[in-house]
């Protein structure tokens, strides 16, 4: 099993090793985001606004974990469509579970690398210490990573079903979630009915928790627990939806048509 999983991970390592564009894609947008929000934060500090404006930087970095994690797995599968390799993968003895595990590892590696780079840059340019969140940071990151995978599973299922026409979802779906996840503002600023929606998302608890820990130094474990529980539900639903869609795609013969698109 691990040999087959490592095959897919290795395939993406080889791909990124000599593709400057793909490596830049991991760093470019997150770093640009950090720079813009870093200066906004510096400006807000000049205006003598509370220290909590630093939340913005934390939010930028944590949001990117979710985004990279979702992108890591959806781009991995789309890459196989682009290069007409999907049939070669699907006629090999790799199981869907192994394939998903492999591309989740690819997503994990991308997220970890981006977080480390952004953490360093935030510290050196804006004196923002991500580690000030303490050991709870790992739990924040873990929950966002899991939610990114869950969102990625739903996105991938739609790409399998609708092919290249659905590719825009890779970049679009995370931004559908962002306004309701209270990334840059607390849930309390949302209208009451949207707050209900926000609390259905695991990411909301992470961003609320991050603001709390940066303000008070206290990690609300119960919030992270709810986030983890919701993540398990979404991962289960995502896996079931993906499996169902893959079965439909096999019935409709779309899998064998992707290489013709």
């Amino acid at each position: 099993m691990w040999l087959r999983i490592s095959a897919i991970v290795m395939r993406f390592f080889f791909l990124h090793r000599r593709s400057v564009a793909r490596v830049m894609e991991i760093f470019f947008w997150p770093v640009m985001n950090l720079i813009v929000w870093g200066f906004v934060t510096a400006y807000l500090k000049e205006l003598a606004l509370p220290k909590t404006v630093l939340f913005l930087l934390g939010a930028v970095i944590l949001w990117d974990v979710l985004y990279r994690s979702q992108q890591g797995i959806t781009l991995a599968i789309t890459e196989e469509f682009w290069v007409k390799n999907i049939i070669n993968i699907f006629i090999s003895p790799i199981s869907i579970g192994e394939f998903l595990a492999a591309i989740c590892i690819v997503g994990l590696i991308k997220s970890v690398v981006t977080t480390i780079v952004l953490g360093f840059l935030a510290f050196f340019f804006y004196r923002f210490n991500l580690l000030s969140a303490g050991p709870g940071l790992v739990l924040f990151l873990g929950n966002l990573l899991l939610f990114g995978w869950a969102v990625g599973l739903f996105t991938m299922a739609l790409i399998f079903r609708y092919g290249r026409a659905a590719e825009a979802l890779i970049w679009g779906v995370p931004f559908l979630i962002q306004p309701f996840s209270a990334v840059f503002y607390p849930v309390s600023v949302l209208p009451f009915w949207l707050q209900k929606v926000a609390y259905l998302l695991p990411s909301t608890y992470v961003f609320e928790g991050m603001r709390q820990v940066l303000a008070t130094g206290v990690v609300d474990v119960s919030m992270l627990g709810i986030s983890f529980g919701l993540n398990l539900v979404y991962l289960l639903l995502g896996s079931l939806y993906f499996s169902w869609m893959l079965r439909k795609v096999r019935e409709m013969g779309y899998l064998s048509r992707f290489h013709l698109e």
């Binding site: 095959a7 791909l15 890459e79 290069v83 390799n85 993968i89 003895p93 096999r250």
Partner: protein, 268 residues
């Protein structure tokens, strides 16, 4: 890799397709298709575009779920033992590609792992040599010519030492010289290893040269089957190419071959 098994068994059906039907909404792509492929045979699956050749191969490989019917490969039902079967077969098509931004060796290393080969260096070296593309070892796959790409696809297809090889127009877009070399290599490997091949091609001369048996499909039905010589004689055509044109233009006039159990192995 060079195991000699020229004395192939002709009584052993390695693939059994029974009453295979595939409908896409109102379109019937395969209509109660039944046939057997004997171990060590090269079967040509022929027919005009849209006849159902690729759908049949994709059903056999588990890429497409049939509407009804059964497929048994090496005695195992593909619906239940897909991964076990896929570990022992392989596929090469002119219409699939290996990632262009990986080198030849990187691609083969990835697929070697997918097929469970931990240390594939020697095997990859011997396949690259066999298909005469060892010089491309460190080249990016995207920089290869179409002839080299076809041979790389075949190297991938032989990595797991398959018992059945599915070839979907393997020589399409090749110049006659390279196409002849590819055919020679395939025949050589088939003779040495008793390999079974299921082959689609629009090149009828190639089919006559390569295939022990051919099945002509029209609108998802088998309209003719037998050895190339037999069906040329049976159809009173001058060549397979003439028969192909006739079926392509008048397929609806041909009777469906009543082939519920498939032809028994060893009958030819």
């Amino acid at each position: 890799m060079q195991q000699d098994s020229t004395n192939k068994s002709t009584t052993d059906a390695i693939t059994e397709v029974s009453q295979l039907t595939k409908r896409f909404n109102s379109l019937t792509a395969l209509d109660s298709l039944s046939f057997k492929v004997c171990r060590g045979d090269i079967l040509g699956l022929l027919g005009p575009n849209g006849a159902g050749k690729t759908t049949a191969i994709h059903c056999i490989l588990g890429l497409v779920t049939p509407t009804s019917g059964s497929i048994r490969i090496m005695g195992l039902d593909i619906a239940r033992h897909r991964r076990k079967i896929l570990a022992r077969v392989n596929f090469s098509s002119a219409y699939t590609a290996l990632p262009s931004n990986l080198t030849v060796r990187e691609n083969l290393n990835v697929f070697a792992r997918l097929y469970g080969l931990k240390s594939a260096r020697v095997r990859i070296d011997s396949l690259l040599e066999l298909f005469e593309i060892e010089a491309t070892n460190d080249s990016l796959t995207g920089s290869l010519s179409s002839g080299q790409l076809t041979r790389l696809n075949l190297c991938k297809a032989f990595l797991n030492d398959p018992e059945i090889l599915f070839l979907d127009e393997p020589t399409a877009s090749l110049d006659p010289d390279i196409a002849a070399k590819v055919r020679d290599r395939l025949q050589e490997l088939q003779r040495q290893r008793g390999l079974t091949m299921i082959y689609t091609s629009h090149n009828m001369q190639e089919v006559e040269q390569m295939c022990d048996r051919v099945i002509f499909l029209a609108k998802g039905r088998i309209v003719m089957q037998g050895s190339p010589a037999e069906i040329i004689k049976q159809s009173r055509s001058r060549s397979l190419e003439d028969l192909f044109i006739s079926i392509a233009r008048n397929g609806h006039l041909y009777q469906t071959v009543d082939n519920q159990e498939g032809e028994p192995c060893g009958s030819g």
